[in-house]
């Protein structure tokens, strides 16, 4: 009996150790990045499409803070607890001094410079589809922003800090279960440039699927129901489907949808503001018209 128990403890210990090792982050080495000539303008465009500022805003009650800078601290409610997206301005209290590879590993792999896993509330699962070059351009643009000194706030988790350590490690298992890997966007050669640009923006930086695609048992996006709509990730209401938009008479054509993305409710499009869509639509309005039309062209093609 004792031996069985001992064996059980040893087996359990081994399983836990294996799990702990398997769950360890596996960042890319610096050599994975080739030479890069930064394009700040392109970085700004993708930073806007990706909505980086929308999540990394200062706290609501911080009336002194400049809301045009991603100094972080605004509460983000998730089923796991309340998170406060950190300061990502180029200050020492933010991401000042980060190397290119540290930034790429964070944004595309969800791995911190301290080699821990980030929570998927930071939508790196979508950003993983971006090219390294675009991600480095985002960093180049962010490096031009005014540095803000702002300390980061710990998440409010039901079980506190120990729970956070275990949870972060456990995210390694989640990444495996969810089939997550930094797989870049692949063009569809049977489609034209406009469609491919739209597909890239929607699937990668735009992270539209994070809200518009329902999740499976592993809390990963259910690819078979891509953009088919479902419960809101923050648990309030339902996110509409982005499929069959034409057949369902939501939009007449790609031009109509591009107009909706540009003006939203100011032109009477009635489902463009609740549940986080307002910030997305505001970001869309700041993109070049060709990007909005590309996104609309891709979405209208989904049946």
């Amino acid at each position: 009996m004792k031996r069985i128990l001992a064996a059980g403890i040893i087996a359990g210990g081994i399983a836990a150790a294996v799990g702990w090792i398997v769950a360890a982050p596996d960042p890319l080495p610096a050599s994975a990045l080739g030479a890069h000539a930064a394009n700040v303008e392109n970085g700004k465009r993708l930073y806007t499409a990706a909505g980086c500022l929308s999540c990394h805003l200062p706290a609501k009650d911080d009336t002194e803070a400049d809301v045009s800078l991603p100094s972080g601290g605004r509460a983000l409610k998730t089923p796991a607890g309340v998170f406060y997206p950190p300061n990502i301005t180029p200050d020492a209290t933010g991401i000042g001094g980060w190397t290119g590879i540290q930034f790429v590993n964070a944004v595309k792999g969800g791995i911190s410079p301290q080699n821990t896993h980030y929570l998927p509330a930071f939508p790196y699962t979508s950003y993983a589809r971006m090219t390294n070059s675009d991600v480095l351009d985002i960093k180049a643009y962010m490096d031009t922003l005014k540095p803000v000194q702002a300390s980061n706030r710990q998440p409010d988790l039901p079980l506190g800090l120990p729970a956070e350590t275990v949870m972060r490690r456990g995210l390694g298992i989640w990444k495996i279960a969810a089939g997550f890997g930094p797989v870049e966007f692949a063009r569809d050669a049977s489609r034209d440039e406009v469609w491919n640009r739209g597909a890239y923006l929607v699937r990668g930086p735009g992270h539209c699927g994070e809200c518009h695609t329902p999740r499976n048992w592993a809390m990963a996006l259910d690819a078979s129901r891509w953009l088919a709509g479902g419960p809101h990730p923050e648990g309030a209401g339902k996110v509409p489907s982005l499929r069959n938009l034409k057949a369902r008479k939501r939009f007449k054509d790609a031009k109509d949808l591009a107009t909706a993305l540009e003006f939203g409710e100011t032109l009477g499009y009635d489902k463009m503001s609740s549940g986080g869509m307002a910030a997305v639509q505001t970001n869309m309005s700041k993109l070049p018209a060709e990007d909005r039309l590309a996104i609309a062209t891709y979405l209208m093609s989904l049946e």
Binding site: G229, H232, A236, G237, K238, V239, P240, T259, F263, G264, E265, T266, L267, G268, Y269, D270, K271, M272, S273, S274, G275, M277, A278, A279
Partner: protein
């Protein structure tokens, strides 16, 4: 006698209609009432948006009547968010935050009414676009914070 009968039945009919009108407002409940008002707001907004999208010609009369109806209906909707109506016998998309920040919610409603009145005063097509932008932003500001997505 006959005429008295007619007139009394007429009074009865009038009385009955009044009672029916009363009972519909009394029994509909705040959720129904505000949703009906918001639907009218949406309809009026649709007519104004059609002008902006050049699907309908600019007509100051049409602008005025829709903007006035819109203002009236936002005012009406504002009165149907009593304490305790975050849930009810009917599904509602109003967020509980409304009653945590009622003053801000009411201010946002007032802002929409103000923007609608400014729209009602528009007589030149050149002023229409800016007025619509202000009005639409007033809807967006409130729905962003206080409405859950429906589907």
């Amino acid at each position: 006698m006959y005429s008295r009968l007619v007139s009394s039945s007429r009074t009865a009919v009038i009385g009955l209609t009044a009672v029916m009108a009363l009972s519909t407002t009394a029994f509909a409940g705040p959720i129904d009432d505000r949703q009906a008002a918001m639907k009218n707001v949406g309809k009026a907004m649709g007519a104004l948006a059609a002008i902006a999208k050049k699907e309908a010609p600019f007509d100051a009369g049409v602008v005025n009547s829709n903007a006035t109806a819109l203002a009236d209906n936002v005012k009406a909707a504002k009165d149907h968010f009593p304490e305790g109506s975050a849930t009810g016998d009917k599904e509602t998309w109003a967020k509980a935050e409304i009653w945590q920040n009622k003053a801000d919610f009411d201010a946002k409603a007032d802002k929409a009414v103000e923007a609608a009145m400014a729209m009602a005063a528009v007589t030149a097509e050149a002023d229409f676009g800016a007025a619509l932008g202000a009005l639409g932003n007033a809807c967006k500001a409130c729905h962003t914070d206080y409405r859950r997505p429906k589907q």
